[in-house]
Symmetry: C2
Subunit: 415 residues, 2 copies
């Protein structure tokens, strides 16, 4: 199994102005070709620190991927710092400069900004990694012992494009080992980490034979099964056996595997049954609609719906009765039922999904504290409503409310 | 200025199953009390690796904060690994065990799961850091030379709570230096990084006297100004002077400072003018509504709106004319104008915001390629529409569309 270290570079990462999403993306992509990230280090835009950290990582693993610091501004110092690790100088790459000038003329109809010229400076003896999504080339530096550093841009779009187009194919060619890391993730929702752990720990039939990690998030708890250092066929068999045992034990709460998104699962269930969906959202303000329509191709299932944040909109656009609002309040079972039914009626959809709740931080009462959320699913006229007491901050409560509403529909359609 | 290193722990981070949002949050919170993260390292759930990395970080900086690995499952190994760094044993904290048992009875109405017992094991000589948001205590370990490690949970909610409630106050007490890091961020939207850099580089009046970083994201480009190692009053003066010069130069594109969210800026502008907002969303499917209602207290401005994903919903709920849809297509200026006007009309709001576009990956045509997005703002009957050619993947295009629509309203209200 091939080890690699990752160094992410940028003051913005250390100062917390940017969340490092590249690191997670890189890890998943590398795992897919049997490479494992052993350590990840983040440093600021400090040439001495970059050089020091990359040198150490290279000594430990012989294989380092960096992200960031290839941009056009004066705090982009990766190229020259890592040239220093290899004892190399820098030179202007005329071909790349010409390409950038042409690109600016063609795409932006103006001359190349002076600041971008430094993006054509590359270390002596380096190979460029093509960037189809931006102006900075990636850089591959390798020494006579075969130890290498690949420098990728920090902008997620450019990093992902270059990784897929250029770096992964190159790494696959270098990797000759028949030994891999394989993993499967079983995604659950509606059950806590400890309860899940208790159920699984009390499961008979001996050890699983794979390593098991619990990964809680707003979407639920993922169970990640991993097998290392065995040949691919054996790894697959071990994973399949362990997954089957877990599925038998906690299958009810399981909505998919690996990258599965509950929104996509629910859309596919509707597609199969030729159902269409409309939403009626109060406290989530459009989040459920946004989750569903984030899935490419959702337009054959999702018609749309109503964001009924104000009571007047619940009444005027969804037909919620004034009486229900007055007698039970906006966060109540009668209102959520009428919202779900209204979403169906006004759009002509076969399924209406509704959410009304107290997302906080204010607005809670002793009767209906922050986190009180009513959800409902009207499937072709049969309405089911549920009360949830969700925890977390405003954002978490809203996200969980959207997740539970999709889960309610999934359960209804499974029956 | 006080340096600290951060070590984030968890296979899920290295394998990319979780994005490390804790690191960014920690950085911002620590900067606020004048502490600076010099390096961040991420390791898996491997006791030897945890011990090794924490030992090195402690030797470099004398101050280390870890997140993760305090949970109830068998891959939670932080406590014992770091006890090893300090050469300490472990013991059962009876008081904490009793507290957890009581908590489970009270909150979940069931006995403490066996798996959670290990959360009451703490290193000898450690102090507990109270966790009001979960069951694992944080841990503070310090040696006779005053070098310390603070262990926080990995679950973001618990980490943030413990940091604010317990760790930050403790660190403020220890910090006696009058020397700080101060930074200000000026947030811009609608202008690219290179164009911004060119404008700023060509600005007269000598050096800014502060360090300047460009931080591009989907929301726009942030300009971060930082001053280090000077007394607080001087730092503030330097920042204020530099910020004023930048504002004079690129102020048009600037919507706020530091944590400012364009949604909050727009809501506040409406609140001042006693305007209410309704949305009409096609390709964004609720994202704009979700962005606006993510801001606490948005209910006095946002009434709601219509998610008009299908053309039938545009027609039936927003009154978009069949003729406009047929002659110009759903992604067109006439349709976006009618959507914005319709959102106002059906909800009674004073402002209607509308978005219709091709978010991709499919659905593009030579005339209207992926990224073609029409947006409109109807402010009390005066409609302004704009065509944007956005780049990125489906998610980025949708997010940018929501951002540009809020920016359009901001510009309208500033005039």
């Amino acid at each position: 199994m091939t080890q690699v270290e990752v160094v992410t570079i940028g003051d913005e990462l250390l100062l917390g102005f940017t969340v490092d999403t590249n690191a997670a993306h890189l890890a998943r992509a590398l795992a897919g070709i049997g490479m494992h990230i052993e350590r990840r280090t983040t440093v600021g835009d400090d040439p001495a620190e970059i050089e020091h950290v990359v040198r150490e990582a290279l000594e430990r693993s012989g294989a380092v991927i960096t992200t960031g610091g290839l941009g056009p501004t004066s705090d982009d110092l990766t190229r020259q710092s890592i040239a220093g690790v290899f004892g190399r100088g820098m030179h202007l790459d005329e071909a790349h400069l010409a390409w950038m000038e042409e690109r600016w003329r063609r795409r932006f109809d103006r001359p190349l900004p002076a600041a971008n010229r430094q993006q054509a400076m590359i270390p002596d003896g380096a190979e460029k990694l093509e960037n189809r999504h931006g102006s900075a080339p990636g850089i591959w530096l390798e020494d006579e012992r075969g130890r290498w550093v690949a420098m990728l841009p920090g902008v997620p779009r450019e990093m992902r494009g270059m990784l897929a187009d250029t770096l992964l194919p190159r790494l696959v060619q270098r990797t000759t080992a028949g030994i891999v890391v394989r993993s499967t993730t079983l995604r659950t929702t509606g059950i806590g980490e400890s309860a899940l752990a208790d159920q699984i720990d009390s499961m008979g039939g001996g050890p699983l034979g794979v390593s098991l990690a619990y990964l809680p998030s707003i979407a639920g708890v993922d169970l990640r099964l991993t097998v290392k250092d065995v040949p691919p066929a054996e790894a697959d068999a071990l994973l399949a056996r362990a997954a089957a045992r877990l599925r038998a034990r906690v299958g009810q709460a399981m909505y998919g595997e690996d990258d599965a998104d509950l929104a996509a699962v629910v859309l596919e269930a509707c597609r199969t049954r030729k159902l269409t969906i409309a939403v009626a959202e109060s406290c989530t303000g459009g989040l459920l609609g946004a989750r569903l329509t984030a899935i490419p191709g959702s337009s054959d299932v999702v018609l749309g719906g109503v964001i009924a944040y104000a009571n007047s909109v619940k009444r005027d656009l969804l037909g919620v009765r004034e009486e229900s609002l007055r007698e039970h309040g906006a966060v109540s079972e009668p209102v959520v039922r009428e919202m779900a039914a209204g979403a169906r009626r006004v759009t002509g959809a076969s399924v209406g999904l509704a959410i009304t709740g107290v997302a906080g931080p204010s607005g809670g009462t002793p009767d209906k504290p922050v986190g009180t959320v009513w959800i409902a699913a009207d499937v072709e006229g049969a309405v089911e409503a549920r009360l949830h007491k969700l925890w977390g901050d405003r954002d978490e409560i809203r996200q969980r409310a959207a997740q539970w509403t999709m889960e309610l529909l999934r359960q209804r359609l499974r029956a």
